[in-house]
């Protein structure tokens, strides 16, 4: 089993270097026990599923009366990962399961992607966003955005199944 965690640079501090943490460090970050995923749904590996994914996340944020600006950031992080799977892990027709939970002042999003090749995107090199247009190369922007939209990312790979766990800190009033 391959498992890594990435504490991201967070949107408000848009530096391009991120510090890696082990999975245990991620798990130890919250002292309280983590609640179960209160909402979970499976989505087809198809671009047409995106609007359903958005509605699913939207209903979670509405249900918990959470800050809509945080919702936009979660939507963006999830869309980028979802489309990345469609682009690079397109051979399988098996659906992607997304789970959401709120607790300990955080929203946690878990994506379970079966039948995948191992690709730990947390280790992917960030693109240079200061380059002029003629020197820019396609690719990498989506993962870069994901890293900046959430506070922590955990990646694990076991039995051809990739599990990605994103954690977004929410304001005290939302907690």
């Amino acid at each position: 089993m391959l498992s890594t965690g990435l504490k991201t640079a967070a949107r408000s501090v848009p530096t391009r270097s991120s510090k890696l943490f082990g999975a245990n460090a991620f798990n130890a970050a919250g002292s309280s026990p983590k609640p179960e995923f209160s909402m979970q749904e499976k989505f087809k590996r198809d671009l047409k599923s995106l609007s359903r994914v958005f509605r699913f996340i939207d209903s979670f944020f509405s249900k918990h009366h959470l800050d809509s600006s945080k919702k936009q950031e979660v939507l963006l992080a999830v869309e980028e990962l979802f489309t990345n799977v469609l682009k690079y892990q397109a051979k399988s027709a098996k659906g992607i399961t997304i789970g959401l939970r709120k607790g300990n002042g955080e929203v946690t999003i878990r994506m379970i992607i079966p039948d995948t090749e191992a690709f730990d995107f947390t280790k992917a090199k960030d693109p240079d966003v200061d380059l002029p247009i003629e020197l820019r190369r396609p690719g990498g922007l989506g993962i870069y955005l994901t890293k900046r939209m959430v506070d922590r990312i955990e990646f694990s790979y076991r039995n051809r199944t990739t599990t990605i766990t994103l954690t977004k800190t929410i304001g005290a009033s939302d907690a």
């Binding site: 995106l50 869309e79 469609l86 955005l145």
Partner: protein, 119 residues
Amino acid sequence: MADFKVHQRDGEGVSVIDLKGYLDAHTAPDLENAFQRLLNDRKFNIIVNCRELSYISSAGLGVFMAFIEDVRKNKGDIKLTNMSAKVYNVFDLLGFPILYEIFKEEQEAIKRFSEQKKS
């Protein structure tokens, strides 16, 4: 969720694309088609008004990247206006303000095209 809509208007020497709703990986081809139509019609002075754009992802930003070089080779430009703070933030994170001129109001972009035409 909001749908995505692309609407094109033609002004004097300038074409304006109004965007509304969510520009994501599923809806990005709509914008791509709009740019392609303008290029086919040899309209290279393009303003994209983002007043009603609620959301943009890297797929949407990729459309701007795909067309800008062709537009500039033809002495035109793509200028962006009326962005909300959250949409601007995505552009900013990916370093787009150094690649594109972004204005608060559409009128400022029209004026800029007009100045560039004179010089």
